[in-house]
């Protein structure tokens, strides 16, 4: 990725790792704060969504890096849009119990 530097490559992956940890720990705290009860399959769905989103972004930018601009943009845009829709559906599903509790 950074062919002219020995430090930028590892640094990039360290920053990516930190961001992932911040996101996951932040998500756990946020869901607790919102009183949303999570079980193993709900967590599996969230992680599956997050892993798929990561693969789409990584795959798309890899294609762009390989000078396949059109393929890369399509790879990000099409499954990316599907993931956004799936993300909204998933969040609505997770937040549904919370709304029911508030109504009660």
């Amino acid at each position: 990725m950074f062919s002219n530097s020995n430090i930028l490559g590892p640094l990039f992956w360290i920053i990516m790792g930190v961001l992932y940890m911040v996101f996951i720990t932040g998500l756990v705290v946020w869901l607790k704060d919102l009183n949303i009860k999570m079980n193993w399959w709900k967590w599996s769905l969230v992680l599956l969504w997050f892993i798929l989103l990561s693969i789409i972004i990584a795959g798309g930018f890899t294609l762009i890096g390989e000078n396949e601009m059109r393929a890369g943009l399509l790879f990000i845009a099409v499954p990316g849009a599907v993931m956004i829709v799936a993300g909204v559906a998933l969040s609505r599903f997770l937040f549904r119990n919370r709304h029911e509790k508030q109504n009660n």
């Binding site: 943009l73 956004i84 909204v88 559906a89 609505r92």
Partner: protein, 378 residues
């Protein structure tokens, strides 16, 4: 009374502008056919016309070494003119599209897949006899067929052979599907079926997205209206459904005043409704809603005028339907599509309400209906 006068003024002035633009476009578009064919010659080569469709090709030494056949085929947005260079034994050496009105992203799909080169090495007589070695490119079938048709017609006309000019109308499941969708849309408006309205709407949206959107890839677009306005009709012997959609959509508005197409038949409208249901979308009410609508319709009028003046309906294509259903379009269109998809999750029908060019056309026909009714009521 004041509104009726305003309606009449809008209908007349928009109609006047559109007609002026169409006439201007026709005058500008008249190009010399020989100049077009001459543009594909190499330096030193010369042409001698045998007839309108056949030219003899001479090299630098003045020796005849082949022919150029040119003909027209029925494209998606209008006729496209194609020329093919052949040797003296009628074997195709190269093919070029001289003029076309196709949506750039669709014809570029053919160029990217070297569609024109697939004809090289085929004898014209074999092509005219029904050679099937060249398949249409998926997602640009009509344009592919139009190029093949133009080559065959150019050759048969050039050689003075009998052409198959039989007028035939054929209907199949696409036409049935279009009729079914409009029938459901009509039922939705009937009070008797108000209890089943929700189910009818969802049935219509689902069918529309699957068949009209993904399978046929034929939502109603602004270029479709422009091609019909300029008198170009799709082939009724295989593409009747393309004609049926605008005729029924406008017919419903003129008869009942209701925009059945946008409400329940349009596949992208249906997509937005489905996305809205996923995201629990709400109505977006802008403070200056009317002003935004006028801007939306103004852009539509500008696109229509530009397309007519340039005599190319594809100029007016800025809808996201092709990008969504067939993954073809410019980067800007894809960005617009992505924004529309995301906004559809939170607001109901953002594309229809603020950007769709078809909305402007439908609004014009509704205004026209109001104006005509007010004249007869007097």
């Amino acid at each position: 009374m004041k509104n009726k006068i305003i309606d009449s003024i809008i209908v007349l002035s928009v109609g006047f502008v559109v007609i002026i633009a169409a006439v201007t476009g026709k005058i500008i578009a008249e190009k010399d056919d020989l100049k077009l064919i001459g543009s594909i010659l190499k330096p030193g080569e010369e042409l001698q016309a045998v007839n309108n469709n056949k030219h003899i090709l001479f090299d630098e030494r003045g020796e005849a070494y082949g022919f150029i056949y040119s003909g027209e085929g029925r494209g998606y947005n209008g006729k496209l003119r194609v020329a093919a260079v052949s040797d003296t034994t009628e074997v195709i050496k190269s093919v070029q599209v001289l003029t076309n009105k196709e949506t750039p992203s669709f014809i570029n799909r053919l160029f990217r897949r070297n569609f024109l080169a697939r004809f090289e090495g085929i004898r014209f007589s074999e092509l005219a006899a029904g050679d099937k070695s060249v398949d249409a490119v998926a997602g640009a079938t009509i344009t592919s067929s139009a190029i093949k048709e133009a080559l065959i017609l150019g050759f048969t006309a050039g050689e003075g052979l009998q052409q198959n000019n039989n007028f035939n109308i054929s209907a199949g499941w696409p036409e049935l599907m279009v009729l079914l969708l409009f029938l459901i849309s009509a039922l939705i408006s009937v009070k008797k079926f108000s209890a089943a309205r929700k189910y009818l709407l969802w049935a219509s949206w689902t069918l529309s997205v699957i068949f009209l959107g993904f399978v046929l890839g034929q939502p109603l677009t602004l270029p479709r209206f422009i091609t019909l306005f300029t008198g170009y009709l799709p082939d009724p012997g295989g593409e009747l459904y393309i004609l049926l959609i605008p005729v029924l959509a406008v017919g419903f508005i003129l008869i009942s005043g209701k925009n059945n197409y946008c409400r329940s038949v349009c596949p992208f409208g249906a997509t937005q409704e489905i996305l809205g249901a996923i995201g629990n979308a709400s109505h977006m009410r802008l403070k200056r809603f009317r002003l935004v609508k006028y801007i939306q319709w103004g852009i539509t009028l500008l696109a229509v005028v530009l397309a007519l003046v340039m005599n190319n309906p594809s100029v007016a294509e800025y809808s996201v339907f092709g990008a969504f259903f067939q993954l073809t379009g410019t980067a800007l269109i894809f960005i617009l599509l992505l924004l529309s998809i995301i906004m559809s999750l939170f607001f109901r029908r953002p594309w229809c309400n603020y950007l769709c060019p078809v909305d402007g056309v439908m609004a014009y026909f509704r205004t026209m209906r109001r104006a005509v009714i007010s004249i007869f009521k007097r």
